[in-house]
């Protein structure tokens, strides 16, 4: 009887990790196929064979330019931005112990937005537009630091952090609106597109600017994933299990801020991905953070990739910001999923 129980338990564990692996593989394959599809589509639809040829042997033709310099960096950036925002959201939802948490909640997005708008309306005449991501990143970091220090009271209480974050986001949102209203039309338009979130005119430089943040933050968050899972049981249980609460929470928070801040810096206000992708991923792999990180990354990448693809091709010759589709299609879909599984939320 005992051996029997062991046997079932072991087979459950094994089938569980097989299922995880299978689902991650399916998601990866979907992402690869979608990236391929996205490479073929555009204002100059390219047959798949020609795309493959161009990828295999780059030559200097118009097609090569479109594939290598226009579509590929944009697709790569969409994947990285989606992955970074989704992981940031997954980490935050687990350390704040609140399903509504997203990079907006702790002021990252609103800080980046305010800094970006300040840059666009006040500094863009003196500084090159290449500095915009740096300004946005700084804004994200400063506001995240502000939220953490305002919420600090001999440690970080997640609920106080959320409340402070919402308050600060509202105040910074007001500042952003004020600046847009008083700045001239073209700056206001650029700021508005930035706030919606767009991958328009993405370049390889943007990809190389974002990639290092993922390379550093993702492994660290995976190392601390177990700590987050323990903290999900409550601070006092986690402490009893031997988690150094404050240190683990700060490390994970830093990872989340870095990922979301960097993503927002290069793509603007797409942070809604950070709310929905982890929830969708959790339906596939559960709430265990070590599993949720790769799964959310893939789901987030898929969402932004398709949102951007729609923005590029659905309303030709107009190129619409991906943010419209992330929110416009992602949100209703998300609500539908919540409705379908009401019992579990």
């Amino acid at each position: 009887m005992r051996a029997d129980a062991t046997l079932t338990l072991n087979s459950v564990i094994n089938s569980d990790s097989h299922r995880l692996l299978r689902r991650l593989l399916i998601l990866s394959f979907l992402l690869l196929a979608s990236a391929g599809l996205s490479l073929c589509l555009g204002s100059f639809p390219t047959p798949p064979l020609q795309v493959l040829n161009t990828l295999a042997a780059p030559q200097s033709s118009d097609i090569a330019f479109i594939i290598w310099e226009l579509r590929l960096p944009r697709i790569a950036l969409a994947i990285l931005v989606g992955a970074a925002l989704a992981i940031a959201g997954a980490i935050l939802q687990s350390i704040v112990r609140n399903p509504l948490a997203s990079p907006d909640v702790i002021g990252i997005t609103s800080g980046a937005a305010l800094a970006a708008v300040v840059f666009l309306s006040l500094l863009s005449s003196t500084l090159s537009i290449h500095w915009l991501p740096v300004a946005a990143m700084l804004g994200a970091l400063v506001s995240a630091l502000l939220v953490v220090s305002l919420a600090w009271k001999s440690g970080i209480s997640p609920s106080r952090m959320v409340l402070v974050g919402i308050g600060l986001a509202a105040a910074m949102g007001a500042g952003t609106t004020l600046l847009i209203v008083i700045s001239d039309d073209s700056a206001a338009m650029t700021a508005y597109v930035w706030l919606t979130g767009s991958l328009y005119a993405a370049q390889w430089n943007d990809v190389w600017g974002l990639l290092p943040w993922l390379v550093v933050a993702v492994p660290i968050s995976l190392l601390f994933a177990r700590h987050a899972d323990a903290m999900a049981l409550g601070d006092s249980v986690a402490e009893g299990l031997g988690v150094a609460i404050l240190r683990s929470r700060l490390v994970l928070l830093a990872c989340s801020v870095a990922l979301a801040g960097a993503a927002v810096a290069f793509a603007g206000g797409l942070s809604f991905v950070g709310l929905i992708a982890p929830h969708l991923a959790a339906k596939l792999v559960g709430r265990n953070l070590a599993r949720l990180v790769p799964a959310s990354a893939l789901v987030g990448a898929l969402i932004v990739l398709y949102a951007d693809l729609l923005g590029r091709v659905a309303f030709l010759p107009k190129d619409l910001p991906a943010g419209i589709f992330v929110a416009g299609i992602g949100a209703p879909f998300f609500v539908y999923l919540l409705h379908k599984s009401r019992a579990r939320f």
């Binding site: 459950v12 006092s236 402490e239 009893g240 299990l241 709430r287």
Partner: protein
């Protein structure tokens, strides 16, 4: 895994001159305590007497404002929390499992202190989890969600998590509160088997006086942040002490079957002189 209990093993967990509280409120006011090895010790006292605060301080989840807690002779608040977690387990009051967490996953969390980045003994983990689930009778729920179980089943899962931690010392804060009497009795049976069969040292905060008297090897009675008295139930569970500690008017009788003391509150008689009452 667990030490077998020797009659006079020196206590491994001790608190000396403990003062503790929250914000500006002082709760513990100079407490000295040593937890006897291999025994089930129960902290008793009225609400606000400081029993939960004492338990948290001993478990290092609350830092005292004065005094020290020693685990194996080392100051527990200066030890690495992970090292402490290999020797001392704590189940706080009313823990809440996140949605969608299976019983097996919850119990597996008990292995946290034993799993490092580069060290992980899968076989040892699986054995500990299986044993803990078998001891608490939750094996049949292994794949169900914790939040979908009944209160008593859920509490057994949490206890299984602490057991999977494989510590000799186990501290539990009101593990039976809000449960049916039958479920409380089952849990206390299980916990006393842990002490008496597996040689673990248990420290519990309980609310129910008679259950405490029936299952404790040692009773520690607290009032106003101090320990008023402590000892075996037959010594300290007396009319006088219950009156002193709980301001309770009760008489204590003996259970003819087990011999453990039982308190029966005295019903207040209406005064004979009360107007309108005809005798």
């Amino acid at each position: 895994m667990a030490h077998s209990s020797h009659p006079h093993q020196p206590p491994r967990l001790k608190g000396e001159a403990l003062h503790a509280g929250y914000d500006n409120r002082r709760v513990l006011d100079g407490v000295d305590i040593a937890i006897e090895e291999g025994k089930l010790t129960v902290l008793l006292g009225p609400n606000g007497s400081g029993k939960s605060t004492l338990l948290k301080t001993l478990a290092r989840t609350l830092t005292p404002t004065g005094g020290n807690v020693y685990l194996d002779g080392k100051d527990i608040h200066r030890s690495k929390t992970r090292e402490v977690a290999k020797r001392l387990g704590i189940l706080p009051q009313g823990p809440v499992a996140p949605e969608g967490l299976s019983v097996k996953q919850l119990v597996g969390m008990g292995r946290f202190p034993h799993q490092g980045l580069w060290q992980k003994n899968a076989q040892q983990d699986a054995d500990a989890i299986r044993e803990a689930m078998a001891f608490t009778h939750v094996t049949e729920f292994a794949d169900r969600y914790v939040d979908a179980l009944s209160g008593g089943q859920r509490q057994r899962c949490w206890i299984a998590m602490v057991l999977a931690q494989q510590t000799d010392l186990i501290l539990l804060d009101e593990p039976t509160t809000f449960l049916d009497l039958k479920v409380q009795v089952d849990l206390l049976e299980l916990l006393s088997r842990l002490a008496h069969e597996k040689g673990r040292t248990l420290l519990l905060v309980l609310h129910d006086l008679n259950l405490a008297a029936a299952y404790a090897d040692q009773l520690v009675m607290m009032c106003d942040g101090r320990i008023v008295t402590s000892g075996g139930p037959s010594e300290v569970f007396t009319t006088t002490n219950l009156n002193r500690v709980f301001d309770l008017d009760a008489h204590v009788i003996q259970d003819p079957e087990s011999g453990s003391p039982i308190c029966v509150p005295r019903k207040r008689r209406q005064a004979a002189s009360e107007p309108g009452v005809v005798v």
